[in-house]
């Protein structure tokens, strides 16, 4: 039972640790790392679900009788590309945030935003 579903256990562990990192860490790069781990777990999930033990690639030949389902593998290629695009966009945003705020820690950024809001409010009152 445990070994037979090993892939799925790995998927669950990766998925949860990925999500946990996204939520728990304040560093923007670490958040993106967590997000990537989270997405990777889904890739493994799709790949494991289509794989049959001893199954072959979809090639028509007389001596092959067991096939793995190629469709989820192809689907997940698309999702991997999407994942790369997301990570790239996220990282370039972090670069711009670093330029604008001078830091990449969530708390500091929020602090700066709050300060600015307080300042503009004070101006309005004056």
């Amino acid at each position: 039972m445990l070994m037979g579903l090993l892939n799925y256990w790995i998927v669950v562990v990766l998925m949860m640790s990925g999500l946990y990192i996204v939520i728990a860490h304040g560093n923007l790069i670490k958040k993106l790392v967590g997000l990537t781990i989270f997405q990777t777990s889904v890739f493994i999930f799709y790949i494991s679900m289509a794989k049959i033990e001893g199954g072959s690639a979809p090639i028509l030949a007389d001596d092959i009788t067991v096939y793995s389902n190629p469709l989820p593998h192809v689907l997940i290629l698309t999702a991997i590309v999407v994942g790369i695009a997301t990570t790239a966009l996220g990282l370039s945003l972090v670069v711009r945030i670093k330029e604008a705020y001078g830091c990449i820690e969530e708390e500091e950024i929020q602090q700066q935003d709050n300060d600015q809001q307080a300042e503009s409010k004070a101006e309005e009152v004056a």
């Binding site: 996204v22 989820p72 999407v82 966009l89 945003l93 945030i97 950024i109």
Partner: protein
């Protein structure tokens, strides 16, 4: 040509996006984008006509037969949504060139249009397709371009808002992807119609329950249902004004479409509302959303923030209508989709005009603006009246249907709460009226917005009033769409 309309709807903006890069001159790119969006709108009008007269259109991509190939399936619901998205996109684009001149650096103008068209492609694709995995792909096309568009805002907060949206949006999209994977595991199909046929057989398995949960939570993240709305206010407030006008009217609507499509068509009514207590859950979240977001709106000093919170509250109304799960309730939701798109695009375009002249949309900067920019401020007020639901505006029509739907079920307390929620809208709209009309202007005199703003703004405001009086078209389409969802699935 006519037979290929479903794919043309999506492929026209997709192909136009890279062509923009080759045109090089901003004015030319703007005209080209406008033309593209206009073409997409024309296609959606033709599609809606065709669907209303002869029923469902099924288009097999590349001639591969469904359920093996990707199928584009246009019924009344899709056609209605396609019309809203492409229509709003076209009207908003009219004002785009003037607005971005002051908000986005010159060398990025062309990229703005490229991203805008890609985002449009994504939204149209999500709605047009009948394939579950295709939904995910288009969702990511529209989201990735949305993150980049929001990051173009001129304040540094735009970057932070975009980053937060990216994290939340990606988690949402990945949840949907997991849900689709689980469904595929159980049924071996990705075609939505095929899924709706095969899912009932395995409906009692834990995998399908998990799939349902993942899809619904993912979609709710995208539609900013309370309490998953945290990304929305900053994203709307700091994005370039044109982007806000476009997204406020369309992006969350597309997510609501997905929610309706997955619950009503794919999983089926009996599974979504009988096996799973979705009704109570969504009714509660919708109502809490209305009150929390409306209260938050009252205390905002940035008008864009104010209307962003109001958007979350309006989503609450749509969710309440949805959770009634009756034909009238769903009609109310679909009507409100259409009407809210009209109001919010009018209001946010008017705010874009204010940003153009004044430079910001802080409440204090609006002092006395009612006299200096009378036409623009009148548009905001009329849009606000529509948000409240005053008779003769579109807002009244959808609230009316929502109340009828609630009374039909005998849910008087909820109907009362809805009316109470509208009172909160009075409070936040009044704050703007008070500042704009009853305070003395400060600082240098400000001119009325240029025609490139006034024409699209007032086109939308007039539509707000027209569809509030002559409800034949919108109600007929919404009702037909709702009935078809309750009749035969898909």
């Amino acid at each position: 040509m006519i037979a290929h309309l479903p794919i043309l709807q999506v492929i026209i903006p997709l192909m136009a996006a890279p062509i923009c890069l080759m045109l090089k001159r901003t004015q030319l790119v703007w005209l080209f984008s406008l033309l593209t969006s206009g073409l997409a709108f024309a296609v959606s009008v033709l599609l809606l006509q065709q669907v209303m007269t002869s029923g469902l259109i099924s288009y097999e991509l590349g001639g591969w037969q469904a359920p093996w190939g990707i199928e584009y399936r246009i019924d009344k619901l899709n056609a209605f949504l396609l019309l809203i998205i492409s229509g709003i996109s076209t009207i908003v684009l009219f004002a785009a060139q003037t607005s971005i001149e002051k908000e986005i650096p010159k060398d990025k103008h062309i990229y703005f249009y490229v991203l805008y068209l890609l985002s449009l492609t994504g939204m149209l694709g999500i709605v047009a397709t009948g394939d579950a995995f295709n939904v995910f792909v288009f969702l990511e096309i529209s989201s990735l371009s949305a993150y980049a568009l929001i990051a173009m805002g001129k304040n540094k907060q735009a970057l932070w808002a975009s980053y937060q949206y990216l994290i939340m949006g990606t988690i949402g999209a990945t949840f949907i992807l997991i849900g689709i994977g689980l469904m595929y595991q159980m049924t071996g199909t990705l075609n939505m119609y095929d899924l709706s046929q095969r899912l009932p057989e395995v409906a009692q398995s834990r995998t399908v329950f998990a799939a349902f949960a993942f899809v619904i939570v993912g979609v709710c993240l995208k539609l900013a249902l309370f309490p998953l709305h945290l990304w929305l206010p900053n994203a709307y407030a700091y994005a370039p004004s044109i982007v806000t006008a476009f997204f406020a009217a369309t992006a969350t609507k597309v997510a609501i479409y997905l929610l309706i499509r997955f619950t009503f068509s794919v999983f089926g009514l009996s599974f979504s509302f009988t096996t799973i207590p979705l009704q109570t859950l969504f009714m509660a979240l919708g109502l809490i959303g209305i009150f929390v977001a409306s209260f938050a709106a009252i205390f905002q000093s940035n008008i864009k923030h104010l209307f962003a919170y109001s958007s979350i509250a309006q989503i609450g109304y749509m969710i309440v209508g949805f959770s009634i799960s009756s034909v009238t309730g769903l009609t109310a939701t679909l009507l409100h989709l259409f009407n809210h798109a009209l109001m919010k695009s009018a209001i946010f375009l008017a705010l874009a005009a204010v940003v153009f002249r004044v430079g910001n949309v802080q409440l204090n900067s609006l002092r006395g603006l009612g006299r200096q920019m009378p036409l623009t401020m009148a548009a905001i007020v009329l849009g606000g009246l529509s948000l409240i639901g005053v008779p003769l505006t579109v807002g009244f029509v959808s609230k009316w249907y929502l109340l009828i739907a609630l009374v039909e079920q005998g849910w008087w307390p909820v109907a009362g709460l809805i009316l109470l929620g509208s009172m909160l809208a009075v409070a936040y709209v009044w704050r703007i009226v008070e500042v704009a009309y009853f305070k003395e202007p400060v600082g240098p005199p400000i001119k009325e917005a240029p025609m490139s703003f006034l024409v699209p703004i007032w086109a939308l405001v007039i539509a707000n009033i027209y569809f509030g009086i002559d409800t034949r078209i919108s109600v007929q389409v919404a009702e037909a769409a709702a009935q078809s969802l309750f009749g035969v699935s898909l």
